[in-house]
């Protein structure tokens, strides 16, 4: 019963701004990333740049509701917006419950918005492997702004920093004390901070962040601003959007935007190379069964022999990478 479309038909429809074609191309690229080359060669003449915003923070802080509220304002300003929302894939079943769209029902019928929910599909770093490719598709589609909402992250998932030009770290009242603010990781990557659910308080968190920022040297000349929102009512969202545009202006005037763009592409190039090597390793060097074998060996001989077993295993390995002259 399922209709299949050939790639040329999809590309032609896509160029006429057909959302069915955009949706189908996203599916293609998510399921068969090796087709990216075939797809993107049709867009080589397009020079449109979208501005990319990243929204990150722990589960339940209101990222989706806030994304919806930001998007609503951008649509009112006449902008077109492509949204990518990532939720985690279960390590047990491989399934996922994608619950971001349900927070954005009121913007979902606007003609200038496109929203896609993605499962992380085992990819680490708070996003999914397909996020970069989908952002490229949105750029080719002509979106003014792209919003990438990460998985609800912990302290150490910050790949979004490499893909977005402005990163909003979303916190909530009761986040933590001055010690939490000193930790490396997620708290460091914000181009701005936003405390959501301000109806529950959170002024103390704003003060803690400002104090943390007081101790930081900003070589870029940009000190991250701190805003507070109640995403459900939309209160404070104007200020957050102003911070986003101020940051965009800062990046453009200081030409740091070029570094951000380079960073985005070098991130993907590295990812592509690493994933190819990973595939090579799992196919030809070591697979799950061999790992089990090593484990059985190590447990039989005693757990302290695990390093010796691995050492011996690699003695047998002859892995040659030919470097191009």
């Amino acid at each position: 019963m399922k209709v299949s479309y050939d790639l040329d038909t999809l590309i032609n429809k896509f160029k006429k701004k057909d959302k069915v074609a955009l949706a189908k191309l996203i599916t293609t690229i998510e399921n068969e990333p090796e087709k990216a080359n075939e797809i993107f060669k049709h867009f080589e003449g397009i020079s449109h740049d979208s501005y990319i915003i990243g929204i990150t923070g722990s589960p339940g802080v209101g990222k989706s509701t806030l994304t919806g509220a930001i998007c609503k304002r951008l649509l009112e300003e006449g902008k077109s917006v492509g949204i990518i929302c990532v939720d985690p894939t279960s390590p047990f079943s491989g399934g996922a419950f994608l619950g971001d769209r349900v927070r954005m029902t009121d913007i979902s019928l606007h003609p200038n918005v496109f929203l896609r929910s993605l499962a992380s599909r085992g990819y680490k770093g708070g996003i999914s492997r397909a996020v970069f490719d989908i952002s490229l598709l949105y750029e080719a589609f002509g979106m003014d702004v792209i919003i990438i909402e990460t998985v609800g992250v912990g302290q150490a998932e910050f790949d979004i920093y490499n893909l977005a030009y402005s990163v909003v770290v979303v916190l909530v009242p009761g986040y933590g004390d001055a010690i939490q603010m000193q930790k490396a990781g997620i708290i460091e990557i914000g181009d701005m901070y936003n405390i959501n659910k301000k109806d529950l308080g959170g002024e103390d968190i704003a003060v803690q962040i400002e104090m943390m920022l007081d101790d930081t040297v900003f070589h870029s000349g940009w000190r991250p601003p701190v805003s507070m929102t109640d995403a459900i009512s939309g209160e404070g969202v104007e200020e957050l959007i102003q911070n986003l545009w101020d940051h965009k202006e800062h990046l453009e005037l200081s030409e740091a935007i070029n570094e951000k763009k380079k960073n985005r592409f070098s991130y993907k190039i590295k990812e592509l190379i690493y994933s190819k090597i990973e595939k090579l390793i799992s196919e030809s060097l070591i697979n799950e069964n061999e790992i089990k074998e090593i484990v059985n060996h190590a447990l039989k001989d005693g757990k302290f022999k695990i390093y010796r077993t691995i050492h011996n295993k690699f003695e047998e390995v002859n892995f040659e990478i030919k470097k191009k002259e």
Binding site: M1, K2, V3, K19, V20, L22, A23, K24, I26, T27, E30, N31, E32, P33, T89, S90, S93, G94, G95, A96, F97, L98, G99, R101, V102, T105, S108, L109, F114, L115, R116, S117, A119, R121, G122, Y123, R129
Partner: protein, 132 residues
């Protein structure tokens, strides 16, 4: 973990506050290794737009209001109008009397799950009938 995954949209058309059935089935679909997009309360236009943008294989309509004929027909009509009806398999669940099943199937619904249905049957039906 790339490769194809079955994607399912779970929506509740109209004003009908009975979440539990939709949540339980959604969870079973997640646990069966599929990707479930939870649409929640949506009107007919929002359901069709979500199904298109999320490029799902299955549209699940959870209806407990007694208006299953009206809503299902509206969803089918709009999918037809958008030229995408054949892209999706439609399943209906909720408080649907058994005597209404055959009419819903004639309308184009692939299967109907009334009270007492097993989530394992729903999962099995989707896996068997979604052609990838």
């Amino acid at each position: 973990m790339s490769g194809k995954k079955i994607r399912v949209l779970m929506s509740k058309p109209g004003i009908d506050g009975h979440w539990r059935g939709g949540i339980v089935v959604s969870r079973a679909i997640r646990d069966a290794g599929m990707e479930l997009i939870f649409g929640g309360f949506q009107n007919v236009e929002q359901i069709v737009e979500s199904a298109i943008q999320e490029d799902v294989d299955v549209i699940g309509l959870s209806i407990h209001s007694g208006a299953h004929f009206a809503y299902t027909q509206q969803v089918i009509d709009l999918l037809k109008e958008r030229g995408v009806l054949d892209n999706f398999m439609i399943l209906v669940g909720g408080i649907v009397p058994a005597q209404d099943f055959s009419k819903l199937k004639e309308m184009g619904v692939a299967n109907i799950y009334g009270p007492g249905s097993m989530t394992s049957d729903i999962v099995e039906f989707i896996k068997t009938n979604v052609k990838k």
